[in-house]
Symmetry: C2
Subunit: 263 residues, 2 copies
Protein backbone atom coordinates (compact mmCIF):
# COMPACT_ATOMS: atom_id res chain seq x y z
CA UNK A 1 0.00 0.00 0.00
CA UNK A 2 1.31 3.45 -0.93
CA UNK A 3 0.29 6.83 0.50
CA UNK A 4 -1.59 7.52 -2.75
CA UNK A 5 -3.97 4.63 -2.20
CA UNK A 6 -6.64 3.82 0.33
CA UNK A 7 -7.90 0.37 1.36
CA UNK A 8 -11.65 0.18 0.74
CA UNK A 9 -14.17 -2.49 1.63
CA UNK A 10 -16.09 -3.62 -1.49
CA UNK A 11 -18.41 -6.37 -2.69
CA UNK A 12 -16.77 -8.56 -5.32
CA UNK A 13 -18.72 -10.59 -7.86
CA UNK A 14 -17.22 -13.66 -9.44
CA UNK A 15 -19.50 -16.13 -11.24
CA UNK A 16 -17.79 -19.04 -9.49
CA UNK A 17 -18.18 -17.68 -5.94
CA UNK A 18 -21.03 -15.16 -6.22
CA UNK A 19 -21.01 -11.88 -4.26
CA UNK A 20 -18.32 -11.74 -1.55
CA UNK A 21 -16.85 -9.03 0.65
CA UNK A 22 -13.29 -8.00 -0.20
CA UNK A 23 -10.67 -5.30 0.49
CA UNK A 24 -9.29 -3.29 -2.44
CA UNK A 25 -6.65 -0.60 -2.97
CA UNK A 26 -8.27 2.48 -4.50
CA UNK A 27 -6.44 5.47 -5.95
CA UNK A 28 -6.80 8.67 -3.95
CA UNK A 29 -8.55 11.61 -5.65
CA UNK A 30 -8.26 15.03 -4.00
CA UNK A 31 -9.40 18.48 -5.05
CA UNK A 32 -6.43 20.86 -4.84
CA UNK A 33 -7.14 24.57 -5.28
CA UNK A 34 -4.37 26.62 -6.84
CA UNK A 35 -3.85 30.28 -5.90
CA UNK A 36 -1.47 32.63 -7.67
CA UNK A 37 -0.60 35.84 -5.81
CA UNK A 38 -3.61 35.21 -3.54
CA UNK A 39 -6.04 34.94 -6.49
CA UNK A 40 -7.90 31.62 -6.75
CA UNK A 41 -7.18 30.23 -10.19
CA UNK A 42 -8.35 26.65 -10.53
CA UNK A 43 -9.14 23.44 -8.68
CA UNK A 44 -7.25 20.40 -9.93
CA UNK A 45 -8.68 16.94 -9.27
CA UNK A 46 -5.58 14.89 -8.71
CA UNK A 47 -3.89 12.22 -6.63
CA UNK A 48 -2.40 14.91 -4.39
CA UNK A 49 1.35 14.36 -4.43
CA UNK A 50 4.28 16.48 -5.75
CA UNK A 51 2.03 19.51 -5.42
CA UNK A 52 4.87 22.02 -5.91
CA UNK A 53 5.71 20.44 -9.27
CA UNK A 54 2.05 20.15 -10.24
CA UNK A 55 1.47 23.84 -9.48
CA UNK A 56 4.64 25.02 -11.24
CA UNK A 57 4.05 22.78 -14.27
CA UNK A 58 0.44 23.85 -14.63
CA UNK A 59 1.30 27.55 -14.30
CA UNK A 60 4.14 27.27 -16.82
CA UNK A 61 2.05 25.29 -19.31
CA UNK A 62 -0.76 27.84 -19.03
CA UNK A 63 1.54 30.84 -19.51
CA UNK A 64 1.53 32.31 -15.98
CA UNK A 65 5.23 31.61 -15.44
CA UNK A 66 8.10 32.17 -17.86
CA UNK A 67 11.13 31.28 -15.72
CA UNK A 68 11.79 29.57 -12.37
CA UNK A 69 12.98 33.00 -11.16
CA UNK A 70 9.36 34.21 -11.40
CA UNK A 71 8.54 32.06 -8.37
CA UNK A 72 9.10 33.77 -5.01
CA UNK A 73 7.54 30.92 -3.07
CA UNK A 74 5.27 27.87 -3.16
CA UNK A 75 3.30 27.20 0.02
CA UNK A 76 1.47 23.89 0.34
CA UNK A 77 -1.51 23.76 2.70
CA UNK A 78 -2.27 20.02 2.80
CA UNK A 79 -5.03 20.33 5.39
CA UNK A 80 -7.13 22.66 3.25
CA UNK A 81 -6.12 21.22 -0.12
CA UNK A 82 -4.51 24.46 -1.29
CA UNK A 83 -1.31 25.49 -3.03
CA UNK A 84 -0.34 29.18 -2.89
CA UNK A 85 2.21 30.35 -5.44
CA UNK A 86 3.76 33.78 -5.02
CA UNK A 87 5.05 35.14 -8.28
CA UNK A 88 7.22 38.19 -9.01
CA UNK A 89 5.45 38.85 -12.34
CA UNK A 90 2.11 40.59 -12.65
CA UNK A 91 -0.15 37.68 -13.60
CA UNK A 92 -3.34 39.72 -13.95
CA UNK A 93 -3.30 39.85 -17.73
CA UNK A 94 -2.72 36.11 -18.16
CA UNK A 95 -5.41 35.43 -15.58
CA UNK A 96 -7.92 37.50 -17.51
CA UNK A 97 -7.10 35.77 -20.75
CA UNK A 98 -7.13 32.39 -19.08
CA UNK A 99 -10.56 32.71 -17.49
CA UNK A 100 -11.92 34.13 -20.72
CA UNK A 101 -10.71 31.40 -23.03
CA UNK A 102 -10.81 28.37 -20.82
CA UNK A 103 -11.24 25.23 -22.81
CA UNK A 104 -12.44 21.89 -21.68
CA UNK A 105 -13.44 18.43 -22.77
CA UNK A 106 -12.81 15.96 -19.98
CA UNK A 107 -10.15 13.59 -21.24
CA UNK A 108 -9.62 15.71 -24.32
CA UNK A 109 -9.35 19.02 -22.53
CA UNK A 110 -7.02 21.82 -23.38
CA UNK A 111 -7.05 25.16 -21.64
CA UNK A 112 -6.23 28.09 -23.84
CA UNK A 113 -6.26 25.83 -26.85
CA UNK A 114 -6.19 28.31 -29.69
CA UNK A 115 -3.95 30.70 -27.81
CA UNK A 116 -1.38 27.98 -27.22
CA UNK A 117 -1.71 26.86 -30.81
CA UNK A 118 -1.13 30.34 -32.19
CA UNK A 119 1.93 30.84 -30.01
CA UNK A 120 3.43 27.56 -31.19
CA UNK A 121 2.89 27.89 -34.93
CA UNK A 122 6.30 27.92 -36.55
CA UNK A 123 8.09 26.99 -33.32
CA UNK A 124 9.53 23.72 -34.58
CA UNK A 125 11.35 21.49 -32.10
CA UNK A 126 15.07 21.22 -32.96
CA UNK A 127 16.94 18.19 -31.65
CA UNK A 128 19.69 15.81 -32.70
CA UNK A 129 18.25 12.99 -30.58
CA UNK A 130 18.15 9.67 -32.47
CA UNK A 131 16.79 6.45 -30.97
CA UNK A 132 17.03 2.81 -31.81
CA UNK A 133 13.65 0.98 -31.74
CA UNK A 134 14.88 -0.99 -28.71
CA UNK A 135 15.31 2.27 -26.74
CA UNK A 136 11.59 2.94 -27.20
CA UNK A 137 10.49 -0.56 -26.20
CA UNK A 138 12.84 -0.69 -23.20
CA UNK A 139 11.84 2.70 -21.78
CA UNK A 140 8.16 1.70 -21.95
CA UNK A 141 8.98 -1.51 -20.09
CA UNK A 142 10.87 0.56 -17.48
CA UNK A 143 7.78 2.76 -17.10
CA UNK A 144 5.55 -0.24 -16.38
CA UNK A 145 8.00 -1.68 -13.88
CA UNK A 146 8.05 1.59 -11.92
CA UNK A 147 4.32 1.87 -11.23
CA UNK A 148 3.43 0.24 -7.94
CA UNK A 149 0.30 2.39 -7.72
CA UNK A 150 -0.95 1.18 -11.08
CA UNK A 151 -0.45 -2.44 -10.06
CA UNK A 152 -2.41 -1.80 -6.86
CA UNK A 153 -5.26 0.27 -8.26
CA UNK A 154 -5.30 0.33 -12.08
CA UNK A 155 -6.39 3.91 -11.46
CA UNK A 156 -3.48 6.08 -12.62
CA UNK A 157 -1.67 7.23 -15.72
CA UNK A 158 2.11 6.92 -15.62
CA UNK A 159 4.48 9.40 -17.24
CA UNK A 160 8.26 9.62 -17.29
CA UNK A 161 11.02 11.79 -18.62
CA UNK A 162 13.78 9.63 -20.08
CA UNK A 163 16.85 9.69 -22.23
CA UNK A 164 17.83 6.90 -24.62
CA UNK A 165 19.23 4.76 -21.82
CA UNK A 166 17.04 5.26 -18.72
CA UNK A 167 14.11 6.91 -16.98
CA UNK A 168 15.10 10.12 -15.19
CA UNK A 169 11.84 11.32 -13.58
CA UNK A 170 8.70 9.25 -12.94
CA UNK A 171 5.25 10.60 -11.95
CA UNK A 172 1.74 9.11 -11.84
CA UNK A 173 -1.69 10.61 -11.23
CA UNK A 174 -5.39 10.00 -11.82
CA UNK A 175 -5.20 12.63 -14.60
CA UNK A 176 -2.83 12.08 -17.51
CA UNK A 177 -2.44 15.87 -17.70
CA UNK A 178 -1.51 16.10 -14.03
CA UNK A 179 1.23 13.51 -14.49
CA UNK A 180 2.63 15.47 -17.44
CA UNK A 181 2.29 18.77 -15.56
CA UNK A 182 4.34 17.35 -12.68
CA UNK A 183 7.11 16.35 -15.07
CA UNK A 184 6.92 19.78 -16.70
CA UNK A 185 7.06 21.40 -13.26
CA UNK A 186 10.02 19.29 -12.19
CA UNK A 187 11.99 20.21 -15.31
CA UNK A 188 10.95 23.87 -15.02
CA UNK A 189 11.93 24.13 -11.33
CA UNK A 190 15.23 22.32 -11.86
CA UNK A 191 16.10 23.87 -15.24
CA UNK A 192 16.57 20.45 -16.85
CA UNK A 193 17.42 20.70 -20.57
CA UNK A 194 14.93 18.71 -22.67
CA UNK A 195 16.11 18.72 -26.29
CA UNK A 196 17.78 15.35 -25.82
CA UNK A 197 14.94 13.73 -23.83
CA UNK A 198 11.76 11.79 -24.51
CA UNK A 199 8.45 11.79 -22.66
CA UNK A 200 7.01 8.31 -22.09
CA UNK A 201 3.38 7.97 -21.02
CA UNK A 202 0.50 5.54 -20.72
CA UNK A 203 -2.07 8.23 -21.65
CA UNK A 204 -3.43 8.88 -25.11
CA UNK A 205 -1.62 11.35 -27.32
CA UNK A 206 -4.12 14.16 -27.86
CA UNK A 207 -3.46 17.70 -29.06
CA UNK A 208 -2.90 19.03 -25.54
CA UNK A 209 -0.08 16.56 -24.90
CA UNK A 210 1.58 17.79 -28.08
CA UNK A 211 1.23 21.41 -27.03
CA UNK A 212 2.80 20.72 -23.63
CA UNK A 213 5.71 18.82 -25.18
CA UNK A 214 6.23 21.54 -27.76
CA UNK A 215 6.31 24.28 -25.09
CA UNK A 216 9.12 22.40 -23.38
CA UNK A 217 10.88 21.56 -26.64
CA UNK A 218 10.71 17.78 -26.08
CA UNK A 219 11.49 16.12 -29.43
CA UNK A 220 10.01 12.62 -28.87
CA UNK A 221 6.67 11.64 -27.33
CA UNK A 222 5.97 7.96 -26.67
CA UNK A 223 2.77 6.28 -25.45
CA UNK A 224 1.50 2.75 -24.98
CA UNK A 225 -1.79 4.21 -26.12
CA UNK A 226 -2.91 5.68 -29.44
CA UNK A 227 -2.80 9.19 -30.98
CA UNK A 228 -5.55 11.39 -32.43
CA UNK A 229 -5.64 13.04 -35.87
CA UNK A 230 -5.11 16.52 -34.41
CA UNK A 231 -2.13 15.36 -32.35
CA UNK A 232 -0.52 13.85 -35.46
CA UNK A 233 -1.16 17.00 -37.48
CA UNK A 234 0.41 19.19 -34.76
CA UNK A 235 3.36 16.82 -34.36
CA UNK A 236 4.11 17.14 -38.07
CA UNK A 237 3.87 20.96 -37.95
CA UNK A 238 6.02 21.20 -34.82
CA UNK A 239 8.50 18.52 -35.89
CA UNK A 240 7.88 16.26 -32.90
CA UNK A 241 8.36 12.51 -33.19
CA UNK A 242 5.11 10.87 -32.15
CA UNK A 243 5.12 7.18 -31.23
CA UNK A 244 2.09 5.22 -30.07
CA UNK A 245 0.81 1.76 -29.30
CA UNK A 246 4.05 0.52 -27.71
CA UNK A 247 2.99 -2.98 -26.72
CA UNK A 248 4.60 -6.41 -26.81
CA UNK A 249 7.81 -5.03 -28.29
CA UNK A 250 6.01 -3.35 -31.23
CA UNK A 251 5.08 0.28 -31.88
CA UNK A 252 3.77 2.79 -34.42
CA UNK A 253 5.56 5.98 -35.54
CA UNK A 254 2.98 8.63 -36.50
CA UNK A 255 5.39 11.46 -37.31
CA UNK A 256 9.05 12.46 -37.22
CA UNK A 257 10.30 9.02 -38.19
CA UNK A 258 13.80 10.32 -39.08
CA UNK A 259 14.59 10.25 -35.34
CA UNK A 260 14.05 6.47 -35.17
CA UNK A 261 17.10 4.74 -36.58
CA UNK A 262 17.35 0.98 -36.77
CA UNK A 263 20.83 -0.58 -36.79
CA UNK B 1 -13.73 2.79 -41.67
CA UNK B 2 -16.21 5.14 -40.00
CA UNK B 3 -16.60 8.91 -40.45
CA UNK B 4 -14.98 9.40 -37.05
CA UNK B 5 -11.71 7.88 -38.18
CA UNK B 6 -9.05 8.82 -40.71
CA UNK B 7 -6.63 6.48 -42.49
CA UNK B 8 -3.07 7.57 -41.74
CA UNK B 9 0.24 6.38 -43.15
CA UNK B 10 2.59 5.32 -40.33
CA UNK B 11 5.83 3.46 -39.75
CA UNK B 12 5.30 0.23 -37.83
CA UNK B 13 8.00 -1.47 -35.80
CA UNK B 14 7.86 -5.19 -35.11
CA UNK B 15 11.01 -6.97 -33.87
CA UNK B 16 10.45 -9.76 -36.39
CA UNK B 17 10.10 -7.50 -39.45
CA UNK B 18 11.80 -4.25 -38.41
CA UNK B 19 10.42 -0.84 -39.47
CA UNK B 20 7.75 -1.06 -42.18
CA UNK B 21 5.26 1.35 -43.70
CA UNK B 22 1.60 0.68 -42.82
CA UNK B 23 -1.87 2.27 -42.93
CA UNK B 24 -3.77 2.80 -39.65
CA UNK B 25 -7.20 4.06 -38.62
CA UNK B 26 -6.81 7.02 -36.28
CA UNK B 27 -9.57 8.62 -34.22
CA UNK B 28 -10.56 12.11 -35.32
CA UNK B 29 -9.96 14.96 -32.84
CA UNK B 30 -11.61 18.30 -33.59
CA UNK B 31 -11.82 21.55 -31.62
CA UNK B 32 -15.49 22.58 -31.36
CA UNK B 33 -16.22 26.02 -29.95
CA UNK B 34 -19.48 26.39 -28.07
CA UNK B 35 -21.40 29.69 -28.05
CA UNK B 36 -24.41 30.43 -25.87
CA UNK B 37 -26.51 33.44 -26.89
CA UNK B 38 -23.61 34.58 -29.11
CA UNK B 39 -21.12 34.52 -26.21
CA UNK B 40 -18.12 32.21 -26.70
CA UNK B 41 -18.08 29.82 -23.77
CA UNK B 42 -15.63 27.00 -24.30
CA UNK B 43 -13.76 24.92 -26.86
CA UNK B 44 -14.28 21.19 -26.53
CA UNK B 45 -11.69 18.83 -27.99
CA UNK B 46 -13.80 15.96 -29.22
CA UNK B 47 -14.46 13.47 -31.98
CA UNK B 48 -16.97 15.86 -33.54
CA UNK B 49 -20.25 13.93 -33.80
CA UNK B 50 -23.69 14.38 -32.16
CA UNK B 51 -22.77 18.01 -31.58
CA UNK B 52 -26.32 19.04 -30.62
CA UNK B 53 -26.31 16.45 -27.81
CA UNK B 54 -22.78 17.34 -26.77
CA UNK B 55 -23.70 21.04 -26.52
CA UNK B 56 -26.98 20.45 -24.69
CA UNK B 57 -25.42 17.91 -22.31
CA UNK B 58 -22.47 20.14 -21.50
CA UNK B 59 -24.68 23.19 -20.92
CA UNK B 60 -27.07 21.23 -18.70
CA UNK B 61 -24.25 19.61 -16.70
CA UNK B 62 -22.63 23.03 -16.17
CA UNK B 63 -25.87 24.70 -15.06
CA UNK B 64 -26.61 26.91 -18.09
CA UNK B 65 -29.79 25.02 -18.97
CA UNK B 66 -32.53 23.82 -16.64
CA UNK B 67 -35.11 22.41 -19.07
CA UNK B 68 -35.24 21.49 -22.79
CA UNK B 69 -37.71 24.40 -23.14
CA UNK B 70 -34.82 26.77 -22.42
CA UNK B 71 -33.39 25.95 -25.85
CA UNK B 72 -34.73 28.10 -28.69
CA UNK B 73 -32.32 26.66 -31.23
CA UNK B 74 -29.06 24.79 -31.79
CA UNK B 75 -27.15 25.74 -34.94
CA UNK B 76 -24.22 23.58 -36.00
CA UNK B 77 -21.54 25.20 -38.17
CA UNK B 78 -19.43 22.19 -39.18
CA UNK B 79 -17.12 24.18 -41.48
CA UNK B 80 -15.95 26.50 -38.69
CA UNK B 81 -16.16 23.97 -35.85
CA UNK B 82 -18.81 25.93 -33.96
CA UNK B 83 -22.08 25.20 -32.19
CA UNK B 84 -24.38 28.14 -31.43
CA UNK B 85 -27.05 27.57 -28.81
CA UNK B 86 -29.81 30.13 -28.42
CA UNK B 87 -31.35 30.03 -24.98
CA UNK B 88 -34.45 31.74 -23.61
CA UNK B 89 -32.91 32.13 -20.15
CA UNK B 90 -30.47 34.86 -19.22
CA UNK B 91 -27.22 32.92 -18.94
CA UNK B 92 -25.03 35.85 -17.92
CA UNK B 93 -24.90 35.00 -14.22
CA UNK B 94 -24.00 31.35 -14.82
CA UNK B 95 -21.38 32.41 -17.35
CA UNK B 96 -19.74 34.72 -14.82
CA UNK B 97 -19.68 32.05 -12.17
CA UNK B 98 -18.45 29.48 -14.64
CA UNK B 99 -15.50 31.46 -15.94
CA UNK B 100 -14.60 32.45 -12.40
CA UNK B 101 -14.56 28.99 -10.89
CA UNK B 102 -13.44 26.87 -13.78
CA UNK B 103 -11.79 23.72 -12.61
CA UNK B 104 -9.46 21.48 -14.48
CA UNK B 105 -7.18 18.49 -14.27
CA UNK B 106 -6.95 16.81 -17.63
CA UNK B 107 -8.48 13.42 -17.22
CA UNK B 108 -9.62 14.27 -13.73
CA UNK B 109 -11.22 17.59 -14.61
CA UNK B 110 -14.40 18.99 -13.17
CA UNK B 111 -15.69 22.41 -13.99
CA UNK B 112 -17.42 24.16 -11.13
CA UNK B 113 -16.40 21.39 -8.82
CA UNK B 114 -17.25 22.83 -5.45
CA UNK B 115 -20.31 24.60 -6.76
CA UNK B 116 -21.70 21.36 -8.17
CA UNK B 117 -20.79 19.56 -4.98
CA UNK B 118 -22.56 22.07 -2.79
CA UNK B 119 -25.69 21.91 -4.93
CA UNK B 120 -25.76 18.14 -4.72
CA UNK B 121 -25.21 17.70 -0.99
CA UNK B 122 -28.28 16.02 0.40
CA UNK B 123 -29.75 15.33 -3.04
CA UNK B 124 -29.77 11.55 -2.73
CA UNK B 125 -30.75 9.50 -5.77
CA UNK B 126 -34.02 7.62 -5.19
CA UNK B 127 -34.67 4.55 -7.31
CA UNK B 128 -36.25 1.12 -7.04
CA UNK B 129 -33.97 -0.31 -9.73
CA UNK B 130 -32.51 -3.69 -8.74
CA UNK B 131 -30.12 -5.66 -10.94
CA UNK B 132 -28.91 -9.21 -11.07
CA UNK B 133 -25.09 -9.54 -11.44
CA UNK B 134 -25.66 -11.00 -14.92
CA UNK B 135 -27.38 -7.76 -16.02
CA UNK B 136 -24.17 -5.86 -15.22
CA UNK B 137 -21.88 -8.30 -17.01
CA UNK B 138 -24.14 -8.56 -20.06
CA UNK B 139 -24.58 -4.81 -20.53
CA UNK B 140 -20.79 -4.33 -20.43
CA UNK B 141 -20.43 -7.03 -23.08
CA UNK B 142 -23.10 -5.26 -25.17
CA UNK B 143 -21.11 -2.03 -24.85
CA UNK B 144 -17.95 -3.64 -26.18
CA UNK B 145 -19.81 -5.26 -29.08
CA UNK B 146 -21.19 -1.87 -30.16
CA UNK B 147 -17.88 -0.02 -30.56
CA UNK B 148 -16.60 -0.30 -34.13
CA UNK B 149 -14.54 2.85 -33.63
CA UNK B 150 -12.75 1.40 -30.62
CA UNK B 151 -11.90 -1.74 -32.55
CA UNK B 152 -10.49 0.39 -35.38
CA UNK B 153 -8.55 2.95 -33.37
CA UNK B 154 -8.36 2.06 -29.64
CA UNK B 155 -8.75 5.83 -29.29
CA UNK B 156 -12.20 6.35 -27.76
CA UNK B 157 -14.15 5.91 -24.57
CA UNK B 158 -17.54 4.21 -24.93
CA UNK B 159 -20.57 5.11 -22.86
CA UNK B 160 -24.15 3.85 -22.94
CA UNK B 161 -27.46 4.39 -21.24
CA UNK B 162 -29.10 1.05 -20.50
CA UNK B 163 -31.87 -0.61 -18.57
CA UNK B 164 -31.56 -4.06 -17.02
CA UNK B 165 -32.19 -5.78 -20.35
CA UNK B 166 -30.53 -3.73 -23.10
CA UNK B 167 -28.53 -0.71 -24.20
CA UNK B 168 -30.77 2.21 -25.18
CA UNK B 169 -28.30 4.93 -26.28
CA UNK B 170 -24.65 4.44 -27.27
CA UNK B 171 -22.01 7.19 -27.71
CA UNK B 172 -18.22 7.24 -28.00
CA UNK B 173 -15.64 10.04 -28.07
CA UNK B 174 -11.96 10.75 -27.45
CA UNK B 175 -13.01 12.33 -24.13
CA UNK B 176 -14.81 10.21 -21.56
CA UNK B 177 -16.62 13.36 -20.44
CA UNK B 178 -17.75 14.15 -23.95
CA UNK B 179 -19.28 10.69 -24.32
CA UNK B 180 -21.17 11.15 -21.04
CA UNK B 181 -22.20 14.70 -21.99
CA UNK B 182 -23.71 13.37 -25.25
CA UNK B 183 -25.77 10.83 -23.32
CA UNK B 184 -26.80 13.54 -20.86
CA UNK B 185 -27.73 15.80 -23.79
CA UNK B 186 -29.71 13.06 -25.50
CA UNK B 187 -31.72 12.35 -22.35
CA UNK B 188 -32.17 16.07 -21.66
CA UNK B 189 -33.36 16.87 -25.20
CA UNK B 190 -35.70 13.88 -25.31
CA UNK B 191 -36.90 14.07 -21.70
CA UNK B 192 -35.97 10.43 -21.04
CA UNK B 193 -36.64 9.38 -17.42
CA UNK B 194 -33.48 8.05 -15.76
CA UNK B 195 -34.37 6.70 -12.32
CA UNK B 196 -34.67 3.16 -13.72
CA UNK B 197 -31.53 3.33 -15.90
CA UNK B 198 -27.84 2.62 -15.58
CA UNK B 199 -24.88 4.34 -17.21
CA UNK B 200 -22.25 1.95 -18.57
CA UNK B 201 -18.83 3.29 -19.52
CA UNK B 202 -15.25 2.31 -20.27
CA UNK B 203 -13.87 5.45 -18.57
CA UNK B 204 -12.67 5.66 -15.00
CA UNK B 205 -15.17 6.61 -12.31
CA UNK B 206 -13.90 9.93 -10.96
CA UNK B 207 -15.80 12.52 -8.94
CA UNK B 208 -17.00 14.38 -12.03
CA UNK B 209 -18.69 11.28 -13.41
CA UNK B 210 -20.52 10.94 -10.11
CA UNK B 211 -21.64 14.56 -10.20
CA UNK B 212 -23.00 14.21 -13.75
CA UNK B 213 -24.89 11.01 -12.87
CA UNK B 214 -26.28 12.59 -9.70
CA UNK B 215 -27.51 15.67 -11.59
CA UNK B 216 -29.49 13.36 -13.86
CA UNK B 217 -30.62 11.12 -11.01
CA UNK B 218 -29.07 7.96 -12.51
CA UNK B 219 -28.96 5.34 -9.73
CA UNK B 220 -26.31 2.92 -11.08
CA UNK B 221 -22.92 3.72 -12.65
CA UNK B 222 -20.91 0.88 -14.18
CA UNK B 223 -17.39 0.90 -15.63
CA UNK B 224 -14.91 -1.64 -16.92
CA UNK B 225 -12.38 0.63 -15.27
CA UNK B 226 -11.72 1.53 -11.65
CA UNK B 227 -13.08 4.22 -9.26
CA UNK B 228 -11.29 6.86 -7.18
CA UNK B 229 -11.65 7.48 -3.44
CA UNK B 230 -13.54 10.74 -3.99
CA UNK B 231 -15.97 9.11 -6.41
CA UNK B 232 -16.72 6.37 -3.88
CA UNK B 233 -17.22 8.90 -1.09
CA UNK B 234 -19.63 10.94 -3.24
CA UNK B 235 -21.47 7.82 -4.38
CA UNK B 236 -22.10 6.86 -0.75
CA UNK B 237 -23.33 10.38 0.12
CA UNK B 238 -25.58 10.58 -2.95
CA UNK B 239 -26.79 6.99 -2.73
CA UNK B 240 -25.52 5.96 -6.15
CA UNK B 241 -24.52 2.36 -6.84
CA UNK B 242 -20.94 2.40 -8.11
CA UNK B 243 -19.60 -0.65 -9.92
CA UNK B 244 -16.12 -0.94 -11.41
CA UNK B 245 -13.66 -3.34 -12.95
CA UNK B 246 -16.26 -5.27 -14.96
CA UNK B 247 -13.99 -7.72 -16.75
CA UNK B 248 -14.18 -11.41 -17.62
CA UNK B 249 -17.59 -11.78 -15.99
CA UNK B 250 -16.42 -10.37 -12.64
CA UNK B 251 -16.90 -6.94 -11.03
CA UNK B 252 -16.51 -4.84 -7.89
CA UNK B 253 -19.32 -2.96 -6.09
CA UNK B 254 -17.90 0.13 -4.37
CA UNK B 255 -21.16 1.54 -3.00
CA UNK B 256 -24.92 1.06 -3.01
CA UNK B 257 -24.72 -2.74 -2.99
CA UNK B 258 -28.39 -3.13 -1.98
CA UNK B 259 -29.30 -2.56 -5.65
CA UNK B 260 -27.37 -5.66 -6.73
CA UNK B 261 -29.45 -8.73 -5.96
CA UNK B 262 -28.24 -12.21 -6.75
CA UNK B 263 -30.88 -14.92 -7.30
Amino acid sequence: MSENTVEIDVLHFDPSTGLRRQSRSVIREKPITLFINETELVTLLCTGHHLDELAAGFLFAEGFLKSPKDILGIEIDEANGQVHVTCSRDTGAVNQLWTKRTVTSGCGKGTLFYFALDALRGKRVRSDLRLDPRNIVNRMEDLHRMSDTYRLTHGVHNTALADAGEILVFRDDIGRHNAVDMIVGHCFLNAIPLRDKLLVTTGRLTSEMLIKAAKLGIPILVSRNTATTLAIELAKTLHITLIGHVRAGKFVVYSGEERIVSD
